[in-house]
């Protein structure tokens, strides 16, 4: 079964458009706010939404997302509440939703139960930065032939062997990390990106989305030359406590930059 994510990329490809994938932390500072934000993101041209699950030790994240996670944890948000929240969204939107979580909350929830509950809630895929494909066999087996994508990460330091492995394991899209570093770091595109892109395209038809450090419409536009989708997280999370008008304007400028 094709996932909502794959169908979205197919539709965008036909229109020769690229995907705009904003990230927000679920429950930052509460679920009601997240509900409003999902609506705003969709209204401002988001194609897919990446929803962060708060974790006490977000190793791949910089200070902005760490602080957002702490606010969400303080508000009592858990993997359970995030899955329930997605389920409640499904009466009003069909936008593809990916969870970005670390592995321990999933492990504690139980792989099998997680996949079953997330699927029935209408979650379309998962990104787990501290679970490389080498350790994800169980999760991949559970999601095979289901409309639930396992998305893995490649970095500028990835070797040929790693690129092949991640291409084989990724469904929905491949997450290409634009920098060597953590989320929210200033963007300095690694020179490896060009050759990596052609290498990935040579192996796989799976779309590639690029993320980490993209903050301005200009940067989004530049990176969109390489990928099929652009992920913006920290820069949005920083702005969500500002008045809506500015956030909406900013989101629309990102959308326009990606084209």
């Amino acid at each position: 079964m094709t996932s909502r994510i794959s169908r979205k990329f197919q539709a965008l490809r036909k229109e020769q458009k690229k995907a705009f994938i904003p990230y927000i932390m679920a429950g930052d500072p509460d679920i009601q706010k997240t509900r409003e934000l999902v609506k705003i993101l969709e209204d401002c041209g988001a194609d897919i939404i990446e929803l962060g699950v708060p974790f006490s030790d977000p190793l791949a994240d910089g200070p902005t997302i760490q602080a957002a996670a702490q606010r969400a944890l303080d508000g009592g948000t858990t993997l359970h509440t995030v899955i329930d929240f997605v389920s409640s969204l499904r009466s009003s939107t069909e936008i593809p939703i990916i969870l970005m979580t670390y592995y321990n909350p999933v492990f504690k929830y139980g792989d099998e139960r997680f996949v079953a509950d997330a699927l029935s809630a209408g979650v379309d895929g998962v990104i787990i930065p501290d679970l490389p494909p080498d350790e994800a066999e169980g999760l991949m087996r559970l999601t095979r032939k289901k409309p639930f994508d396992t998305i893995f990460l490649l970095a500028p330091t990835s070797t040929d062997e790693r690129i092949r492995k991640v291409c084989r394991a990724s469904r929905g899209f491949i997450y290409y990390v634009s920098i060597t570093g953590i989320t929210g770091t200033k963007l300095t595109l690694d020179p490896a990106i060009g050759s990596h892109m052609s290498q990935i395209r040579g192996i796989s038809d799976t779309p590639i989305a690029v993320g980490f450090g993209i903050a301005t419409p200009e940067e989004a536009s530049m990176v969109a030359r390489y990928g099929d989708g652009i992920i913006v997280g920290s820069a949005i999370v920083k702005r969500i406590h500002d008045p809506d008008a500015e956030l909406k304007q900013y989101l629309r400028s990102l959308r326009a930059g990606i084209a």
């Binding site: 708060p54 974790f55 006490s56 030790d57 190793l59 791949a60 910089g62 200070p63 760490q66 944890l73 858990t78 993997l79 359970h80 592995y103 321990n104 909350p105 999933v106 492990f107 504690k108 929830y109 501290d130 490389p132 080498d134 330091t157 990835s158 070797t159 790693r162 920098i179 060597t180 570093g181 953590i182 770091t185």
Partner: protein
Amino acid sequence: MPALLELEKAYAASKKDKEFLAELAMLQKTYIGRPTPLYFAKRLTADLGGAKLYLKREDLAHTGAHKINNAIGQALLAKKMGKKRLIAETGAGQHGVATATGAALVGLACEIYMGTEDVARQSLNVFRMKLLGATVHEVTIGSKTLKDAINEGLRDWTTNVRTTHYVMGTVFGPHPFPMMVRDFQSVIGREARKQIRDAEGKLPEYLIACVGGGSNAMGLFHAFIDDEVRMVGVEAGGRGIAAGEHAARFAGGSIGVLQGTKSYLLQDDNGNVLGTHSVSAGLDYAAVGPEHAFLRDSGRVQYAYATDDEALAAFEQLSRTEGIIPALESAHALAEAVKLAPKLAKDEIIVVNLSGRGDKDVQHVARIKGVEL
């Protein structure tokens, strides 16, 4: 992942590299001061009135703790791999000092991550690191202790992976760290095994070591795994086994995944890591090395805990009876020996790993006792 695979390969090659091994052996002897003595604690033994107590004197190693064994090994390896910079986390500051020392020795830049709370209780070691030429970054987020120092260290490594080697200080983290750190520390047990045979003509009945991440314990235990020797690892019981009050993972934890390692972890029902407490910064950590988890589940090693108060009592007891001020971490192992020795016969032998010296803790203990220095 590529960095870990590169490290695994380089480490495997170093084990067959005669030049590397010869240099390491030479530095262990002439720089660290190995072998460290195995000392018979006669007065403490008499005080406790049971088994004979021997102390493996890692406190006499250069920089004052066992941490140097691993740091020198990894510094040499990093140099060989062509890295320009060493980074490390530290709790009590001993691993930070050891890494800064290793960096100075082989001529690499060095930056250390340390939680604000640990910076406050281990200020002496912070200054030592600076004297050795390292930059110390205070980690102000999360628990402000060892766990978050590791998070920040790993974030730095992700960012600067091409030029930098991350010197993990304990038997934790993704493979090959737990194996590599154990191997560099296993010199402790190899020496102790020979020394106790020379002294007593037999192996001991018990080994005791404190367990934070668990590197000094793995270092002592590893050479005895196949022997008929009982082993006890001692965790930090803090103020008692209630959430947030201790760091006894085997007493109050469950299996989880943190920092690239699956092991016992102090966590809540949703998989978030719980806060910890221990009087000793080096044991104040929510997870434990995966090989300890294995040794616990297989029943090969028993794990106990000592509370803050028990450790502080042992700290003072050893100081007064033997003239040795132990690190508060090592005092947890001693506290277990104090409980165990009186129950054993006089011809039985306990070897306690005295993993570090207590100079770094003197100010902290004075504060606890309400003494102004």
